[in-house]
Symmetry: C2
Subunit: 362 residues, 2 copies
């Protein structure tokens, strides 16, 4: 008796490390249904799974489905996943959930994967590479069946890791320097060409660019397209008119635009690497006492929500973001691959949205 009390006291010292709340408990199992229907649980399992339902008689299938409904049976997904080694979960990694570009992409992904029986888990890296690694680790702990990454850099350790560990993944919005990675991106080149065309049509000959960071495809490739499109219009690329924002945020965009304005170089228009950078450019213009588009025209990229409501409504390149997400999900599911051994890139065709942030050159 004394040993029993001592043992109890010993184990009561255990400390619960996780903060935990009371969990609802509903436990109808295959066994319960089997008792009702009068067959073995393995037969119930086969009857409930559409893929194996033909292996049981129609009568047993019918009675099984009725009993399952009556008893409120809900499969235990832990047990299923333990046996099948599949979670039917897909991880989506975004750099910043509060950036309006990403919610519609996620929505498109979610819609498509939901139809295929998957659940989406979203993680937010806050544009921090070490946080990115942590997010990936957490997702692997959850045994996600695949990944959709909106965080890609041209050189990206996360992608290297996914390749090394043979994790199925697709890139969305940004891609990587490697050519053989499945991706769904905007046609950056076509988009920037439209902007340069639009601005030269307005008479602009000195067109600056505040690009995104060149470690990302959305940064570097849009910049390269700008250089190329200038040449297409017989304009010479002027390096002093190009500057780089450290991130795709208003704050860093404002800093980069301020540097450009302080350099004293002459230009009549700015192409911003994306709409967030464009907002930063607007702030920098205002701080410098310049009016848009009277003094400097401004164009962005993405046509993110509300960009048509700012002052002035922004000329930008529209990307159908939900569709982009949907394509990425379908690519992950293998829908879009004629040849699964040959990864592909889908480039979404953009549209030019002309609003009042661009006007004739002074």
């Amino acid at each position: 008796m004394k040993a029993i009390l001592a043992n109890l006291a010993y184990y009561l010292k255990r400390i619960v490390m996780h903060k935990e709340f009371q969990v609802a408990d509903s436990r109808v199992t295959l066994r319960d249904i089997a008792r009702e229907v009068g067959v073995h649980p393995s037969t119930i399992s086969r009857a409930l799974n559409p893929a194996t339902r033909e292996m049981v008689t129609a009568e047993i299938a019918e009675r099984t489905l009725a009993a399952a409904e009556r008893l409120g049976y809900r499969p235990n997904t832990f047990a299923q996943s333990l046996k099948t080694n599949r979670s039917y979960t897909v991880g989506v990694l975004v750099p910043d959930l509060t950036n309006p570009v990403f919610p519609p992409i996620i929505k498109g992904i979610d819609r498509t994967l939901e139809e295929a029986g998957y659940t989406v888990v979203v993680a937010n890296s806050d544009n921090q590479p070490d946080r990115e690694q942590m997010c990936l680790e957490r997702m692997q702990e959850r045994r996600v069946d695949g990944l959709i990454l909106a965080t890609a850099r041209l050189e990206d350790p996360t992608i290297e890791r996914c390749l090394r560990e043979k994790l199925p993944f697709v890139l969305v919005n940004r891609t990587t320097a490697k050519n053989d990675i499945p991706s769904v991106v905007a046609d950056e080149t076509a988009g920037i060409k439209m902007l340069v065309q639009h601005l030269t049509d307005l008479g602009h000959r000195r067109i600056a660019m505040v690009s995104g960071p060149h470690h990302s495809s959305t940064g570097l490739w849009r910049f390269e397209a700008y250089v190329s499109a200038l040449r297409d219009h017989g304009l010479e690329f002027a390096p002093e008119l190009a500057t780089q924002s450290d991130t795709f945020t208003e704050e860093d965009g404002q800093l980069a635009a301020a540097r450009l304005l302080q350099s004293g170089h002459d230009f009549t228009a700015i192409i911003a690497g994306n709409d967030m950078i464009a907002l930063g450019c607007l702030s920098a213009l205002k701080n410098a006492g310049l009016k848009c588009p009277d003094d400097i025209s401004l164009a962005g990229f993405n046509d993110m929500r509300f960009i048509d409501r700012i002052d002035p409504p922004l000329t930008t390149i529209r990307i159908p973001l939900e569709e982009m997400g949907s394509y990425a999900a379908r690519m992950l599911l293998g829908d879009l691959n004629d040849d699964p051994s040959s990864p592909q890139t889908i480039r979404i065709v953009p549209r030019l949205m002309v609003r009042s942030s661009t006007g004739p050159a002074k």
Copy 2:
């Protein structure tokens, strides 16, 4: 031999129903570590779990942790969850992920729950009640340990269901008519009082309201606060100056404001039920050839992202949305309850943000 071939042919008829892609397979188990360390797997389990680590010697714990790291061990969460009946997942249900109010709330929730060892799964109901039920069902299939609902109506079948099934949940942003539901909401009354005070200080005596739908607390309670605050200022509530938007969207807000303008009743200011409705009111004012704030002043609620960038920058009530999310998560974890049997409501103190959409009454 013929029976074997017949059996094979029979089973080859099975059809895979889910679209599936190749899943990565990494299988280091407790057994592998046990072999390395030379103890039983149950001892490894105890050594790896901080809550039970004191039940093994320091030497075995040390060698276990080293072997786990060297072998790249990752617990099988399916097996853990099957045994413990816990998923360490929390479901968050929002009406519209692309509404800028929700991403920061989700961010706050995610940050807090992540620290407590939980993963967040977000579902999007698209403001459709039947989709809401489907989302809830999906989350229950995943055996979420708890829920945070941003979708509450004053009378809400989803909440009834959660209560009936004893699912742990917390409401965020909106609450329900029941008094004893754990919720984290803005102090609607204080916020609307500030707006009415601000507008009467500007000389407005005819203040209209385009509220949100009265089936939600954010709709009805903000409206009731408006009525009450008018009285506080010796102004009589004029029913013809109040209209209701069917949803918290630009489109429905615009329709409601247009009805108000077409009614021909005289007013000099509008309080919108939230910032999205305010954007709709702006469109309606523009269509009616009215200028804001020269002809009609306008105020919103939430201070959602970019609302300070529109034309004109909106006067509104700021709610710290990430904090709101964080409070909700902590409430679910039981952090904020002195008395767990007595559910509470946290009302977040708002701030008035005066911008150029409000000016002196004409």
